[in-house]
Symmetry: C2
Subunit: 291 residues, 2 copies
DNA sequence: AAGATATGATAACCAATAGTTATGAAAAAC
DNA sequence: GTTTTTCATAACTATTGGTTATCATATCTT
């Protein structure tokens, strides 16, 4: 009966040791392993104790491998290489794809720009983005990860904060140059499809800027249309600088300073509880979304 | 740069998975791994999540490997076999030996019998036993493990309880048959080389059996001599049934019931703090001493 | 030669995971 | 149809992973 658990040390010890053996430096190994130098030192000490064999000689700050250490390093290195190859092939062959979802504005202005850039890279796997303003369209099991807007993560889901919403007016740079105050400008409004959305009346009330009421307000229907019109210099729209970071960077929109409203709502990246694989996490990082 | 920590899952997961794959049964795998079935289930679940790949199909109580699972099982099995071989050779080639120490009586009656039996087995490594009644001779760094007698483990050492001392009279079975009470027997005494030793006067005082004072008492010098004389039917000696288990089993000595004294002292197996290797632990188990 | 720097070892402590027990669901065995 | 066995999971405890701080020691710099 092959009982590896009793004949092998804790296997992560071997991985730590292989890294130390390769660098001949605990501090460098710790950096690669993303742990402290003390953690590496402890692991190697335990491994030597478990084996009853000295693997490294220490001479002040110099470290070298003993004969046994050389043998174990070679053995571990080959085994780890073999495992990494096998696991790499396994993941590669698992018909990788990434399925994302968000509301329309987030998709149009934040997700899709990043996904498009990613898809142009080599080694890209297929990515689909579902855009809908109906939560039932996006909060389902079809998607690996959802960019979710709200005050809390829904029940049965888990995730991380991407950014907290700071709602503010934005306009095309040219418009700001020719009409520096609101009274001569048009406030570009939209239909609220959810109570949690904040349109111009909500913004004016909650931010306390009563002087904004004097401006002309026009309702363009969808929120995306209000942003499109703002980009084309037709007026001032509301938005989140984080979601619109690419439009701002491109110089198509400029935030109007001094009018910020912390809405208390958040953009989360969420997934069904317990379903996020390391592979999905890695792919998201490649797209530009660090969890 | 080979950063295996980011490209490989926690490696014990693979070991757990290999065991499940081999048994095709979580419960059987758990038994081999010495963990609960729930622990195995959790691990496999995490591994599948980490990989983003289903490794096993579950159908009620039936488990089978997916195609990916077969591949990973083969990959892991080969790597683990390779590692176990390398580590086995490393330990084999580390000039194994075991160095033990104890006081003379423990060595003569308890340790050496077990060591001798072990040395006759194949795969035995050299074992030395140092016997001395001077603590300075045995409490030093030369020895892997020391059988220590006292109320506590000395500072700088750690260890486990072997047995707690119950001190009692023992004699040859023939002597007990012909002289059923003490008055016609000789109490075989010895020189106390340490305050913590308990001779006949101590025993009589602490056990409350004042009637034992009527018996003739003779001092034979060493404690071992008192036991030797008892074995040869010359009288009644004091001793610990645990230490003398082999003499009792062989029928050379028999405890006299009803005269037990719990001395409050203990036989420990001890070693310098932090120095006990798994290999030493394994060798001791082979000798018959489970820590 | 003296001081500064880098690295390893370890103590004390906190965080995260390993592992357990109990229990429910579902298929196999009887 | 009932019992048994096995897997999944919740809730909890135990153990290990990992950190920070600090000391010892060799190397490097001045």
């Amino acid at each position: 009966m092959k009982n590896y658990r009793s004949t092998l040390p804790p296997l992560d010890y071997l991985l730590f040791f292989e890294t130390v053996a390769r660098h001949k430096n605990f501090t460098r190994a710790a950096e690669e392993l993303n742990v402290s130098q003390a953690a590496v030192s402890k692991r190697i000490k335990f491994l030597e104790s478990w084996l009853g064999v000295e693997l490294l000689t220490r001479n002040g700050r110099n470290v070298d491998l003993t004969k046994a250490g050389h043998k174990l390093a070679a053995n571990a290195s080959e085994a780890l290489e073999y495992l990494a190859l096998g696991i790499g092939q396994l993941r590669q062959g698992s018909h990788d794809k990434l399925s994302l979802a968000s509301n329309i504005a987030v998709s149009q202005f934040w997700l899709t720009p990043q996904v498009n850039e990613y898809l142009l890279s080599h080694d890209a796997v297929p990515v689909t983005v579902t855009a809908s303003n109906k939560e039932s369209d996006i909060l389902n099991q079809e998607h690996d990860v959802v960019v979710y807007y709200g005050s809390d993560i829904p029940s049965g889901w888990e995730g991380v904060v991407l950014f907290e919403e700071i709602w503010q007016p934005l306009a095309a740079p040219g418009l700001i140059a020719q009409a520096p105050d609101f009274s001569a400008s048009t406030l570009l409004d939209f239909e609220k499809l959810a109570l949690k959305w904040i349109n111009w009346p909500d913004f004016i009330e909650q931010s306390g800027h009563a002087e904004l009421s004097a401006a002309q307000r026009v309702n363009l229907g969808s929120y995306g249309s209000s942003l499109d019109a703002a980009i084309r210099g037709k007026g001032i729209a509301l938005g989140s600088a984080d979601v619109l970071e690419f439009e701002i960077e491109a110089g198509r929109l400029t935030p109007l300073e001094g009018y910020k409203l912390n809405t208390g709502r958040t953009y989360f990246a969420i997934w069904r509880t317990g379903t996020l694989s390391q592979r999905t996490r890695d792919l998201l990082r490649d797209v530009g979304i660090d969890l």
